[in-house]
C-alpha cells in the first residue's frame, strides 16, 4: 500500500501541522521504542499504522 495515499488521507483529515520530518527510530530487536512512544502519549488518542514505505 502506498504511504502517499495514507499520508494524503491523514493530511486532509488532521490539517497541516508542519514540522521537520521526524527521525526514524529503529525497532531492531524489540518493540520497546514503540512501547515507550505509546506510554509517553498516554492520555491522548493514538494511532499506529503499519505500512510499506514505497
Amino acid at each position: 500500500m502506498s504511504t502517499r495515499l495514507v499520508s494524503l488521507a491523514m493530511a486532509g483529515l488532521l490539517g497541516a501541522c508542519a514540522a521537520d520530518r521526524p527521525a526514524l527510530a529503529d525497532l531492531t530487536t524489540s518493540l520497546a521504542p514503540l512501547h515507550a512512544w505509546f506510554d509517553a502519549h498516554a492520555g491522548h488518542p493514538r494511532v499506529i499504522l503499519l505500512l510499506s514505505p514505497v
Partner: protein, 145 residues
C-alpha cells in the same frame, strides 16, 4: 507510523524519504525485521480471525488464503489501529484498539475500490472503501465525534 519492508524497494532509506510525515504529531519507526507484523499478527490471528472468516464466502480464494494465514511467514501490514486516550500497553500483544482497519484488496486507492476489514468494539465487517474513509472513521471513534 511503523514502516515495514513488504514490497520491492522497501528499505530504511525509502522509509526515511517517505512522503507526508512532516507533522509534529507523528513519530516514525523502521521495523526492518517486521517484528510488529509478526508479533501482532499472531495475536490478531487468534483474536480476530475467527470473526473475519465468516465474512468471506466459504471456499473462496480469499477465505482459503485467510484461513491458512501464517503471520510469521506473512507479517501483518496495511493496517491501522486507533486507540482511545485511556488505552494501556499490555504485557503481551497489542493494546486494545477502539477501532481498526486492514486493507486486503487494493485497486488504486479510489473510494469504494479497496477492500478493508474493519472493526469497532465487537463489530467486524468488510468495507469497500478507501484509506481516507477508514482513517476518518477511526479518528471519529477515538475523538468521540
Amino acid at each position: 507510523m511503523v514502516y515495514v519492508p513488504m514490497v520491492p524497494g522497501d528499505d530504511r532509506a525509502a522509509a526515511a524519504a517517505a512522503p507526508g510525515w512532516s507533522d509534529a504529531r507523528a513519530s516514525c519507526f523502521w521495523d526492518g525485521e517486521r517484528l510488529t507484523g509478526r508479533t501482532w499478527g499472531a495475536a490478531q490471528r487468534e483474536q480476530v480471525l475467527p470473526k473475519l472468516l465468516p465474512l468471506l464466502p466459504a471456499g473462496s480464494p480469499e477465505h482459503e488464503q485467510l484461513a491458512s494465514w501464517d503471520p510469521d511467514m506473512q507479517p501483518l501490514w496495511d493496517v491501522g489501529w486507533f486507540f482511545a486516550a485511556d488505552a494501556r500497553w499490555p504485557a503481551d500483544g497489542l493494546p486494545p484498539a477502539a477501532a481498526w482497519c486492514k486493507q486486503f484488496a487494493y485497486s488504486g486507492g479510489e473510494t469504494g475500490a479497496n477492500g478493508f476489514f474493519r472493526g469497532e468494539g465487537e463489530t467486524v465487517e468488510v468495507a469497500w472503501s478507501s484509506w481516507h474513509e477508514q482513517f476518518a472513521a477511526g479518528m471519529a471513534t477515538i475523538l468521540g465525534r
